[in-house]
């Protein structure tokens, strides 16, 4: 196992490094700049008024969430495909998939919450049974299931393989859910709520949106790296815990 080499290097027993500290501070600073841009500098929207400022959280978070889901799916596929031939038995891919999955769920939750708040202001209700919303909600629950598999009490290799398969299944399921829900809603009622969403975004608003995307990406990267390292530490702890328990029992045997 890679645990032995990991243990030998004390730098790896921490979740932060110089690079991630810098990344963290830059992320934090860009969040502050984003708040300034989004709340003060960017203008009100002609149609949506102040509510448009939710856009700067709502849209970047879903983009980051989608990106992270893709990362989870790719890392899971690599784990199943290449994992066994790697020296670390694919632990790297597995940790990456897990860290990306957790960040994705967090950001998707942010998207759903900001979306509901925005909906309350714009449509007068928190929730619309719109195809996109329904798909997103089901996607959120599917990936909660994925995280539940990652946390289930089982042998690590078995857990990783099942989690990887579950991640790929969830990814395959997204277009199926989206297609069926889209068809359901178009049959029942035309989606009227999108008209004002697609209005052109230009100038300061566009710049703010792009900056927000950058800021959220930095924060997501920071979170992901820390989660990755924390998972590795947990693996080391599990391994060492077992080794300690074994040697303690052996010692008992000698003393008796």
């Amino acid at each position: 196992m890679s645990g032995a080499s990991d243990r030998g290097d004390s730098r790896h027993l921490m979740t932060s490094s110089v690079a991630t500290r810098v990344l963290g501070w830059v992320g934090l600073a860009s969040m502050a700049v984003m708040a300034l841009l989004g709340l003060v500098i960017s203008p009100r929207d002609r149609i949506q008024g102040e509510a448009v400022r939710l856009l700067y959280i709502h849209v970047p978070t879903i983009w980051v969430a989608y990106g992270s889901f893709i990362l989870t799916a790719v890392a899971s596929a690599l784990y199943l495909w290449r994992g066994s031939s790697r020296e670390d038995r694919g632990r790297h891919y597995d940790r990456l998939a897990g860290a990306a999955g957790e960040v994705a769920v967090l950001f998707l939750a942010l998207t759903l919450v900001t979306g509901m708040l925005w909906g309350r202001i714009t449509w007068g209700v928190f929730w619309q049974w719109d195809a996109r919303l329904t798909t997103t909600a089901l996607m959120f629950v599917s990936y909660l299931g994925y995280l539940a598999i990652r946390n289930m009490p089982a042998e690590i290799e078995a857990r990783s393989r099942r989690a990887a398969i579950a991640a790929l299944l969830a990814a395959v399921n997204i277009p199926i859910v989206h297609f069926s829900v889209e068809w359901w809603r178009t049959l029942h009622q035309k989606a009227s709520i999108r008209s004002d969403r697609n209005s052109e975004i230009t100038g300061d608003m566009f710049a703010t949106l792009m900056f927000s995307l950058l800021a959220f990406t930095l924060v997501a990267a920071w979170l992901m790296i820390h989660r990755y390292r924390l998972v590795r530490l947990e693996e080391i702890r599990e391994e060492e815990g077992l080794a300690l328990a074994v040697s303690a029992r052996r010692a008992e045997g000698v003393n008796a």
């Binding site: 199943l80 399921n173 859910v177």
Partner: protein
């Protein structure tokens, strides 16, 4: 090769159905529970006849979903203890045969369950069947989709201590499109809605095909370890 695959699948299904026939868990426990779900809906909607009639197709599928999850749970619980999973792995059956066999047994049990539930829905919610062919096609294809998906996720949570709570969380979001399509098609079959029902049967067929293909590929890696 396909004949061999299906022949072995039939053996696996026969084994599961024999266990069910001897223990009668689905018949004695799951079917009454499904009917109970329908009765509880009547309480929830204050026995409002028109509301229950409108909602009957959806309520039928919700009943199938809950009771079906228990059937899938049961189907994989019997493989859990005493190294039976290892025995199954050593049996020489292809993973594809195990997958199709497990799904087929769940399918048969669900069809019996649905016959009872449909009778319950017609009697309790006062709906009339206006298109029997659509009704049968929808339930058969939707149930096949449910059984195949259930077999994949059943194997995914096989041998895990938290299986009872994990399986519904994994399975229900995935079978949501079946619930959706099945409900819409049954609305047409019951004459509640004038919208086309057969298109939904087409969608259910596609979903069922996709999950059959996924299961045939994924069941091997799922059964390899535990």
């Amino acid at each position: 090769m396909i004949a061999e695959l299906l022949g072995d699948a039939a053996r696996v299904a026969r084994k599961d159905l024999l266990i069910e026939w001897r223990t009668r868990v689905t018949i004695n426990q799951v079917i009454p529970l499904g009917l109970l779900v329908e009765v509880v809906f009547a309480f929830a909607f204050d026995a409002n006849r028109s509301l229950l009639e409108q909602g009957a197709p959806g309520l039928f599928w919700v009943g199938v979903l809950f009771a079906g999850t228990l059937v899938v749970q049961r189907s994989f619980t019997v493989e859990g203890p005493e190294g039976i999973t290892d025995a199954l792995r050593l049996s020489g059956f292809r993973p594809g045969s195990l997958f199709l066999g497990k799904a087929a047994a769940v399918f048969v049990e669900l069809v019996v369950l649905e016959a009872a539930l449909l009778t319950g829905v017609v009697v309790l919610f006062d709906v009339a069947v206006s298109d029997p062919l659509l009704l049968v096609s929808t339930t058969v294809i939707g149930t096949a989709g449910f059984a195949l998906t259930g077999a994949i996720y059943g194997a995914l949570s096989l041998g895990v201590r938290v299986r009872e709570t994990l399986l519904p969380l994994l399975l229900i979001p995935v079978v949501a499109p079946i619930l959706l399509g099945g409900s819409r098609a049954l609305e047409a079959a019951f004459g509640i809605s004038t919208q086309p029902g057969w298109n939904w049967v087409g969608i259910l067929t596609v979903i069922t095909g996709v999950y059959a293909a996924i299961g045939l590929v994924a069941f091997g890696p799922l059964m390899e370890e535990s």
